[in-house]
């Protein structure tokens, strides 16, 4: 008897990427851009989305897929601000959303009546960088309560992203965070990154964010 070797040479992410392609195709057919919001836990993804839904909800039809390890608390918070279905994905321990979860979530969303889709990923700067969800762009939220050197600690996420949105700018007078220093670290790993600065609580800096969203909904900013 012989032990035989079967040559495989297949990418481990191949199945996810195939499903991400299906997500992308469905969104393209429906003309819906999708933005994948990623960050450390507690950077303010849900808060920014709450404010965005409250401010734009009457003019821009936004659907949301939220991912959390446990609870649908974020989806419940967002549902207060929109009549649209907020689709919660509980990952049951997984540290990221995958394309299969997003594809399943799309079944519950009326894409024909949607202008823009947000995917609020699990708070984690490591694993979500590796999983294509069929989004148009990853947006990293970077709060001023974090260290400015996050981009060099977690380079893959910042390399994969199109934009960095600084959050909690209202706290800037109380913390040692220097925005220009953080931008320098961002540019070390990805010179192409775009930047916005926001505070969802005060609120401040949201007009630029909304301008970006409107441009995406109308067909993209690049």
């Amino acid at each position: 008897m012989a032990v035989r070797t079967i040559d495989v040479r297949e990418r481990i992410m191949a199945r996810n990427d195939e499903l991400a392609g299906q997500v992308r195709e469905r969104l393209r057919e429906a003309g819906v851009p999708a933005l994948n919001l990623v960050s450390s836990p507690g950077a303010g993804k849900t808060m920014l989305l709450e404010r965005t839904l409250a401010d734009l909800g009457d003019e821009l039809v936004i659907s949301v897929v939220t991912g959390d390890v446990q609870t649908q608390n974020d989806a419940d918070r967002l549902a207060v601000h929109t009549d649209r279905l907020v689709q919660a994905v509980i990952t049951n321990g997984a540290c990221h959303l995958d394309a299969k979860q997003v594809l399943t979530a799309l079944d519950a969303i009326d894409l024909a009546a949607t202008d823009l889709l947000f995917i609020e990923n699990v708070g984690n700067l490591v694993c979500p960088a590796s999983w294509d969800l069929g989004e148009n762009a990853k947006i990293v939220l970077f709060s001023v309560t974090e260290g400015e050197d996050k981009p060099v600690k977690y380079p893959k996420m910042f390399q994969q992203a199109r934009m960095v949105v600084f959050t909690k700018l209202d706290l800037l007078p109380h913390v040692p965070f220097k925005v220009e220093r953080a931008i320098g670290f961002c540019r070390q790993v990805n010179p192409e990154l775009q930047f916005l600065s926001t505070s969802a609580l005060v609120p401040d800096g949201l007009e630029e964010w909304y301008g970006f969203l409107w441009a995406e909904a109308r067909g993209g900013t690049r």
Partner: protein, 86 residues
Amino acid sequence: MHELGLALEVCRMTEERLGSDGMAQVRAVGVEIGDDAGIEVGNFQFCLETLLAEPPFRGARPVILRRPGDVLRLAYLEVDDGRPDD
């Protein structure tokens, strides 16, 4: 968690290729991992070894092949399927 998810995906790919009956015949699983793949190799190897020790596998051996770049792929399967030597 990331490494466990990837190790589970390797098991799914193995089943897809060999069928559920063939998984008991696997002796080794070769996985190429790039230095920039974002994988903690020791953790991944431990997760895969744990999964391969449990049915329907029968103690197959994970073989990690380090590579430059961000490659992450199932390279090969070694199976003893009971067929006579060629």
